[in-house]
């Protein structure tokens, strides 16, 4: 966007927010409508599509066997990857992951990893040699802002939907058998992102707000209302007061969403 358009838009958005309103009619503490659909990709071990307003994210999971990390020989491995596929936005380009998709993948990864959502100790086949590797592939299909929350939701929804293959170890070789069990999950973290515009914190910023906002802060919240991952982004700052305020809003919103989703 040209900087003139940006300035005009910023003015307009600021004035609305001063009155507690937003361009798309929401209140400053409101999420857009959320729709979750699970299991669309039959060939994946798990999948979920999340619509957050017009933002659309598809997550598929695959489970394969592989080596554990040397420092956690008894634990399965989580690998999160995000693709900002170019059909999702004119601003996305084909090619290897850029800093935005890498950051997105790592935020989603941390939300799951730090909340210990996956019982990785149950994914060990042979200690030090063979474990299950859970691939979580985040596929952004339409970008209308707040990819972080949509992706984090879709990732957890896909994990909830993920089936783990049965197996036997025969002569040191892993044989996959028919049938599945469910992937053992211990937590369902919910990530809440706030944008800062003209000193105000708004929940779930959409594309037009993202283009003018100062900075954002994302917090992953678990069932106990504890915080398990944070990421500040953008080239602005937060005052310490705003951070504590953001924390309170995030905990409240996460609880609200958890209730709505039955998580």
């Amino acid at each position: 966007m040209s900087s003139l358009v940006t300035r005009v838009k910023l003015k307009q958005i600021e004035q609305l927010i001063a009155k507690g309103k937003r361009l798309d009619g929401r209140g400053i503490g409101d999420y857009r409508e959320i729709k979750i659909e699970q299991g669309l990709i039959e060939k994946a071990e798990g999948s979920a599509r999340v619509l957050l307003g017009k933002t659309e994210v598809l997550v598929g999971t695959k489970i394969e066997t592989g080596e554990p990390f040397p420092d956690t020989p008894n634990e399965g491995v989580l690998t999160v990857n995000a693709e900002l596929v170019p059909l999702a936005s004119p601003s996305f380009e084909p090619g290897p992951p850029d800093e935005n998709s890498i950051e997105l993948a790592r935020i989603v990864d941390r939300g799951i990893r730090e909340s210990k959502a996956i019982a990785t100790e149950k994914l060990c086949i042979e200690p030090g040699k063979n474990v299950f590797v859970v691939f979580v592939d985040v596929y952004v299909l339409n970008h209308d802002g707040n990819l972080i929350d949509a992706s984090a939701l879709a990732a957890v929804a896909a994990l909830l939907n993920t089936k783990m293959p049965n197996y036997e170890v025969e002569d040191g070789e892993v044989k996959i058998k028919t049938g599945y069990t469910t992937l053992p999950l211990k937590s369902r973290p919910i990530t809440v992102t706030l944008g800062k515009i003209n000193g105000n914190l708004i929940v779930d910023p959409w594309l037009e707000e993202e283009q003018v906002m100062d900075s954002r802060i994302s917090m992953a919240i678990n069932e106990e209302g504890n915080i398990c991952a944070i990421q500040k982004g953008g080239s602005g700052y937060f005052t310490p007061q705003q951070i504590l305020e953001a924390k309170n809003i995030a905990i409240e919103k996460a609880a609200e969403l958890r209730k709505k989703l039955g998580w």
Binding site: I41, K43, E56, L58, G60, E64, E83, P86, P90, Y139
Partner: protein, 246 residues
């Protein structure tokens, strides 16, 4: 895990998924499914699930890629990592590079490229789930996405494969038939112009079988073409209703 079945077609002439030799898999076509693209379409063709989007005609970036006398068409066919049995690395494989090229070349004949000099369009195809015949389903969807973008076309391009399974020439092979069958002939057609814009073949066919397969694939294309037009009509009816409701 994958026990190879002894026969792909039973005594009654039924295929493993219950279809007859000349029967297409169920198709579902939707137009205008992505908010940010200039045109888009979604196809479910059997278990294939594919999104296609078009951006443009627009200025090329970088500029030196543009041509003074025609529009440049770029195309990326890409598979989601979770679209197949074994996770696929998101980096483009050689197969994806080749398919991007043949899909682009199957759609180019439908476009008036000389009408938009110095511009470009980008076709992005994402295979969300693959079940055999993704290149054909991609072409079918991409042509709809181009129409959805309002870009003038000579004709829609519809695509469908035929092939040989056991001893029989059949239409529209699914994954297992593709892998265990004798031959596969993907084909794209502009039905109104009688123009074949994609033709490939894997496997071994006698000249007679090949002719039969080509005819069967063209019949398949024509059926799909009818569904493409229906899908476009549905989209415009929906818009019309929306407008009238306002």
């Amino acid at each position: 895990m994958n026990e190879k079945p002894e026969k792909l077609i039973d005594k009654k002439g039924c295929r493993l998924d219950g279809r007859k030799a000349d029967e297409l898999r169920p198709l579902k076509l939707e137009v205008g499914v992505l908010a940010n693209a200039d045109g888009s379409a979604y196809i479910e063709h059997g278990k294939n699930k594919i999104l296609a989007a078009v951006f443009g005609p627009r200025e090329m970036h970088p500029k030196h890629l543009s041509l003074p006398d025609r529009m440049v068409i770029r195309c990326r066919y890409h598979m989601a990592p979770f679209s197949v049995q074994e996770r696929k690395s998101p980096a483009p494989s050689r197969r994806e590079v080749e398919l991007s090229k043949v899909i682009r070349e199957s759609l180019e004949p439908s476009l008036f490229v000389e009408l938009y000099p110095r511009t470009g369009i980008d076709l992005f195809i994402e295979v969300l789930q693959a079940d055999g015949g993704t290149r054909c389903a991609s072409i079918t969807a991409a042509s709809l996405a181009i129409a959805d973008a309002g870009i003038p076309m000579r004709d829609l391009v519809a695509a469908c494969a035929a092939g040989k399974v056991d001893d029989t020439v059949v239409v529209d092979l699914f994954d297992l038939e593709d892998k265990l069958g004798v031959a596969d002939v993907p084909l794209a057609l502009m039905p109104n112009l009688n123009a074949v814009t994609l033709l490939q073949m894997d496997g071994i066919l006698t000249p007679e079988e090949f002719e039969q397969a080509v005819n069967m694939a063209m019949e398949g294309c024509k059926k799909i073409y009818a569904m493409q037009k229906e899908a476009l009509k549905n989209k415009y009816m929906a818009i019309k209703e929306e407008v009238e409701e306002e």
